[in-house]
Subunit: 410 residues, 2 copies
């Protein structure tokens, strides 16, 4: 697709009659907007000289202390001094890649992996090697095999990039047993782990999972974000890194943006200090759980035989695999014509594969819209299967490789 | 200086008894904070679903239209489609350098030049070649000579970086006659101009100067910022670039931060749409003019013979040159001991020179504090002159080359 076609597609997706299961935008309307507005208005009126002024490149110290409290919910013990506030976790990814990766260096990433990370890795000319995952997350044996292969080839691996909890796009969570194994393998091969964890507190069952960083402060760089637990429009994320890396990150951040916005940071700080934020996250969890249920129930009821999909226990996404011979990318324009949108799987692979997959998000549309979207999607897939059965393999869309993420597919 | 010494120095500068003529922070307390707070509070309460959500990587379209209105005050005719909103103009600088500069490429910059730009150029391993300026700004003959020399050496110049209006750190403005010459020379040598213009609307006399971009849309990339005309803590800047460059900037921005903050952008948009922002800029101009006057009057009255300084007609900074044999960097700790701080000139040169210079800012302290600061500084300089006369040249601080800017020296 050329940019103008993509733009035309996006323009269609934005139409109200299209049910978009494509976007990764959180449902920020569930926030108590009046209370948040009052809080922020009072903050600017009362502390404007600080809120509207430059801050430090590392980020506000009190906010970094709150961030440590947030990470403690996942078992992470950290000092505010080792936290750097970033413009969303995306900036943390960018800075880390800038610091660690030279052109041609190997970066390991799950297959599939977050499209925004793949875009950043491509920008720094990293060579992304995928490691498969399944319903239990990244597969340790596959990781070990990949590392052994690369070592045999004499290739240097800069880091493993992983979204262990409620992965984007697959929706799966790395099991506790596998967490220990992944850490062990990475320590054995002396490979740094970039743990990207925007959805960790959005689990639908029991307590938050223990972060990888909770059990290894030396080999794990942890990326966090308030985009999904408070609001994406604030662009406040963070990175927790070993001390030596943290110092480099601050210098890189200073060169890139001078300092993060005090306006956004202090809004988050005040929100965390004065609002029942844990209750609000609980509300978000209930809301997303109901939407997840709507999606899984509809898929169970409506999708034709031969389709399979993941059953997320948290986060925003279901990963669906089409029957053999179908192509999610080629099908996308036809789906949009039927007023339903998704993200084709190809964007989540650096190697041009993923044609049989699609990401379905349940974070933004209301449950009845999700059901309607799945109904429309099931009809499109049904039609594709009939076409395949009549004419053989359906047309395959030319893969354009990694694309930049676009806020719609975060 | 090692980082811990620098930190100790900064800690001392932050003490209330020290008059800091070092910082480049705007005096945001002059904003009508109650009104701004109300505006933002209402915005979040009323349009939270948009304000708190992801936006596009290019930035909010309505804000980009307002930005075109702002640039029109400097004679710039532009389409909102060619504007990209950035995290302060610093991010624009970072993205432009990332796009254009390969290690070893030549970047031209005024001598002295903005420390944050030099930091970014260093991060991308550009080879900065300085071109001198005088009271009338960048010297055209020197630019032509430098370009001819570099051409003779077969070296590729990627761009000229300039702050033509109320320069940081020199405080000078490029004259109208020279603007035409600079554009002509750059067109002749086919060199792109990066026009960084945060202070353009903060002139103390008459109408705003015509931007370089107003007379050349092909060779000039214009960087703007609301940091000095509204508030630095919002981190909203922009870049106006020829169409092909703009497309690359959007992709680079997406990879770096996904999208700029809607929260900050829509606060600016609403402020520009509903508040008397031109009146507010006029208030800022009056405020800074009074501080400029306080500084120049004090310098005229108090500084020992042999010191010279620029006489800015706008912006935030005076550039002072010490008598032969004095070293502003070596003197800085002694000045701080006498409770006055400035930025030594060395940070504004990529080539290790600048020891006899210092930047004095009048943007933040109130006039009586500026007078007190200059009084203390004059006494320190007087003492240094006596030391020089007794013992010869004073100790020279080892130059540590380009340092990252630090929000205090923006």
């Amino acid at each position: 697709m050329v940019p103008s076609e993509i733009r035309a597609l996006f323009a269609m997706v934005a139409r109200p009659e299209v049910v978009s299961l494509a976007g990764g935008a959180p449902y920020v309307s569930a926030l108590p907007l009046d209370a948040v507005g009052r809080l922020i208005g009072d903050l600017v009126a009362g502390k404007g000289a600080e809120v509207l002024q430059y801050g430090s490149a590392q980020g506000d110290e009190q906010l970094r202390e709150h961030i440590c409290d947030v990470m403690a919910l996942e078992g992470v013990q950290a000092s505010a001094d080792d936290v750097v506030v970033t413009v969303g976790a995306q900036q943390a990814l960018d800075l880390i890649t800038k610091i660690f990766v030279d052109p041609g260096d190997v970066v390991l990433a799950e297959a599939p992996s977050y499209v925004g990370a793949l875009g950043t890795f491509a920008a720094y000319q990293a060579d992304v090697v995928h490691v498969p995952l399944d319903e239990a997350g990244l597969i340790p044996a596959a990781l070990r095999e990949t590392l052994a292969d690369l070592r045999a080839q004499g290739r240097r691996v800069k880091f493993l990039y992983t979204v262990p909890t409620f992965q984007n796009p697959a929706g799966v969570a790395l099991t506790t047993a596998r967490r220990a194994q992944i850490l062990e393998i990475c320590a054995e091969y002396d490979v740094l782990v970039i743990e990207d964890n925007p959805y960790g507190l959005l689990g639908f069952e029991g307590e938050p999972m223990r972060a990888l960083r909770a059990d290894d402060a030396q080999h794990v760089i942890y990326l966090g974000s308030f985009s999904k637990t408070i609001a994406s429009g604030l662009r406040v994320g963070w990175v927790l890194a070993p001390h030596a890396v943290r110092a480099k990150l601050v210098l890189a951040a200073e060169s890139a943006i001078l300092c993060p916005s005090n306006f956004s940071q202090l809004a988050v700080r005040e929100y965390l200090a004065t609002q029942p934020w844990q209750e609000q996250i609980k509300d978000f969890r209930e809301l997303y759980r109901a939407r997840r249920d709507a999606m899984l129930e509809s898929l169970d009821q409506l999708m034709p035989d031969g389709c399979t999909w993941t059953r997320p226990a948290g986060g925003f996404f279901v990963w669906l695999t089409l029957p053999e011979g179908l192509d999610a990318k080629a099908m996308a324009p036809r789906a949009i014509a039927e007023r339903v949108a998704y993200v084709p799987g190809t964007g989540f692979y650096a190697d041009g594969t993923g044609h049989r997959h699609m990401r379905l998000s349940y974070c933004f549309p209301e449950p009845h819209r999700i059901r309607e979207g799945v109904r429309r999607l099931a009809a499109v897939v049904e039609q594709e299967i009939q076409l395949r059965d009549t004419f053989g393999r359906t047309a395959t869309g030319a893969s354009s490789g990694v694309q930049t993420p676009g806020p719609d597919v975060v």
